[in-house]
Symmetry: C2
């Protein structure tokens, strides 16, 4: 079992981006659970690596591939089997004007993941949003445009 280090946490997220399932399974347990915070349509526990990947696909669609995470720091407690990675996240809803600053269009939050590791793999993840981000991001996840019309997504 490899040691839990900040580099291993970064490698786990990098593996998600490869699309290579065997590579993902080096870090993410097949039976993991992942919680998206809040109470919007996509919030709550997503079950299994497949459930988590389906959620990530949804994020890609809603954001038109614009979701960006800029890492601030990664912390680990190897003995307890926990890691936390803090990130600045930014995403524009698909179809929104590029210069929109409405929270219905623009996600602009600092957030983190609390990951629990067992036998070298992530078995549980919980996303958490800092400050008033849970309120503003609930608008981003909603099907509303700033004028109250429902969009297709």
């Amino acid at each position: 079992m490899r040691e839990l280090t900040p580099d291993r946490v970064r490698a786990a997220f990098a593996a998600l981006g490869t699309g290579d399932r065997q590579k993902m399974l080096e870090y993410w347990d097949e039976d993991l659970r992942f919680e998206i915070p809040g109470n919007h349509a996509h919030a709550g526990w997503h079950e299994g690596l497949d459930g988590f990947l389906a959620f990530l696909k949804t994020v890609g669609e809603l954001s038109g591939g614009t979701y960006l995470a800029e890492n601030i720091t990664v912390l680990v407690n190897a003995e307890d089997g926990y890691s936390v990675d803090v990130n600045k996240n930014r995403a524009l809803r698909a179809g929104a004007p590029e210069d929109s600053t409405s929270p219905y269009h623009l996600l602009d939050v600092t957030a983190l993941h609390v990951l629990r590791w067992r036998d070298g793999r992530i078995v549980e993840g919980r996303g958490v949003i800092l400050g008033d981000g849970p309120a503003t991001s609930a608008l981003w996840w909603s099907p509303l445009d700033p004028d109250g019309t429902r969009n297709a997504a």
Copy 2:
């Protein structure tokens, strides 16, 4: 400068409980800022050690001294100067029935602090609540009782 370790993070919170300002200043910078998450009446940045202590006094009053934090884990990145402590928090609003489970009465959340350290002291803290805790805790912080009457606090 002492090394940033999980034990030092625990000692910082223990110092807050002593009421000894000199002891607190071993860990908490005089000019620190501390963010309470959400958008309720006590949310946002509290400025300076005095502002932070005034907020803690408010918590003590609103909870009638029942606020309890059970630590789950502490993580550090000494190089970057960050710590995170994850806790189960529980508190009953002052004057509420002891067996009430209403979110207007009972705070029952998992939350964490992101602390930024400089020269051995905490210069910035941000509270963050996991899951749907920001929504339920907003009710706890409100001046409402479950029947919509405003309480004195």
